[in-house]
């Protein structure tokens, strides 16, 4: 008995090793489930404050570029406003059509945005995450869409009081239904883990007409993003093994290595859309 005990004590680091590794793998697997815990992520207040120091410094370093981007974007929007104003004038000239127009299609737009600052961002891993400085107190919830001025960024996964963690496109857990602009056919967008500039769009039917350089936008099938948000442009394509679908290589419009400000999209009709979808599934 004593010998056994001596033996066990002399090998105690083996048991400790097994225990600690077990804890580590438990964390890995729990993280692989979609739901992440707030404690073990940058959403918790202490670590979020540490990493936001880096974010603060980083946002100063990029100010010049950001400024140029904003001016450009501002110009685009101004042109759009002018265009719309002209259209409005034309429609206003004929009151009858204006009435018809305003009744059917200018009903309340169901989306709302909340601007947030990126405080931590990784692109070097296979599973990347982004932390932003808005949380539950700013009415951020799980599964909200996040975009930047260039296009889609990701989906909110963990929410704490003041911070939340986003699953960006650069994460194998991210999947989103997207379509080629101008056609109604959609495929599923995911990342292959290699290059932070490219993602792939699978399951696009073979008869869809498109060419290299076409724009890929979000489809209306998810309740997360509004339809038509820029995703990227087609850079090359190939047939999939089962030969009925195309697999497209898409150059992402968002530069994930240089993210500063993002917009969280709140969809006021999301619960309605999802509950209807759920009901219809229950009826099958």
């Amino acid at each position: 008995m004593r010998k056994l005990l001596d033996f066990l004590i002399s090998k105690v680091h083996w048991f400790l090793f097994a225990l600690l590794e077990a804890i580590a793998f438990m964390l890995v697997y729990r993280n692989n489930a979609y739901q992440q815990s707030v404690m073990f992520s940058t959403a918790n207040v202490i670590s979020a404050n540490v990493v936001s120091v880096g974010g603060m410094i980083g946002s100063y370093l990029n100010l010049r570029e950001k400024n140029r981007d904003l001016v450009e974007r501002n110009g685009q929007l101004e042109i759009e406003v002018l265009k719309l104003q002209r259209q409005l004038e034309i429609i206003m000239a004929d009151t009858l059509t204006f009435r018809a127009y305003s009744n059917s299609s200018t009903k309340s737009f169901p989306y709302d945005i909340e601007i947030a600052k990126v405080v931590n961002n990784s692109v070097s891993y296979l599973s990347n995450y982004i932390t932003i400085d808005k949380g539950r107190l700013d009415n951020i919830e799980r599964d909200m869409g996040v975009i930047s001025e260039h296009g889609v960024v990701g989906i909110v996964s963990t929410v704490a009081e003041h911070f939340s963690v986003i699953i960006p496109i650069l994460n194998p857990k991210f999947r989103l239904s997207c379509k080629v602009l101008g056609s109604g056919y959609f495929g599923s967008m995911s990342w292959d883990g290699k290059n932070t500039q490219y993602a792939k769009l699978d399951e696009l039917p073979r008869h869809v007409d498109f060419k290299v350089g076409d724009t890929i936008v979000t489809s209306a099938y998810s309740a997360i993003f509004p339809e038509g948000i820029m995703m990227g442009v087609v850079s090359s394509f190939e047939k999939q093994h089962d030969d009925n679908f195309y697999s497209l290589k898409v150059k992402l419009s968002t530069d994930f290595t240089n993210l500063n400000m993002v917009m969280v999209i709140k969809n006021n009709h999301k619960n309605e859309q999802q509950s209807v979808e759920k009901d219809s599934k229950g009826n099958d």
Partner: protein, 171 residues
Amino acid sequence: MINIIRGTLYFVTLCLIQVLVLNNIHFLRLATPLLYVYFIIKLPVGYSPVQTLFLSFLMGIMIDILSNTPGMHVAACTLVGFIRPKMIRLFKRENLPDNIAPSFSSFSYGSFVRFAITLVAIHHLSLFLIESLALFDILYFSIRFIAGVLTTIILIIIVETFHKTPKRGGD
């Protein structure tokens, strides 16, 4: 006592450097140096296996929480902490005092570098293997592995070289 203070300083500085600076570096979009392994390498030789394991675990979990990668760094660090005492026995020639940390002077140049390369390689190998539970591509995996180990080792050698000079002048 001095070892505890030095250890804590190492721990905090390396954590902060890793999270605030190095995590933002992606050399050629491939390699991110993981300098924090230096903490595990520099633990005093005389620490018991249990102490080494526990401190490595602590380092791993700190990095994990701060870079949103639950489990991965912990698993890799714990493995390195477990293997380290065996590696010390392998690379160290004569008996060293317990409170001495591995360095160019306490080990020889060659064996310190080999010691560091072994630990860093084990660390990166386990880290990337765990990471590729989600996606696996052998070519990309090997390129990333080699690039990661190289950048980390170069950084460790640089830090170690700078580390040596003030000691010579000061003591």
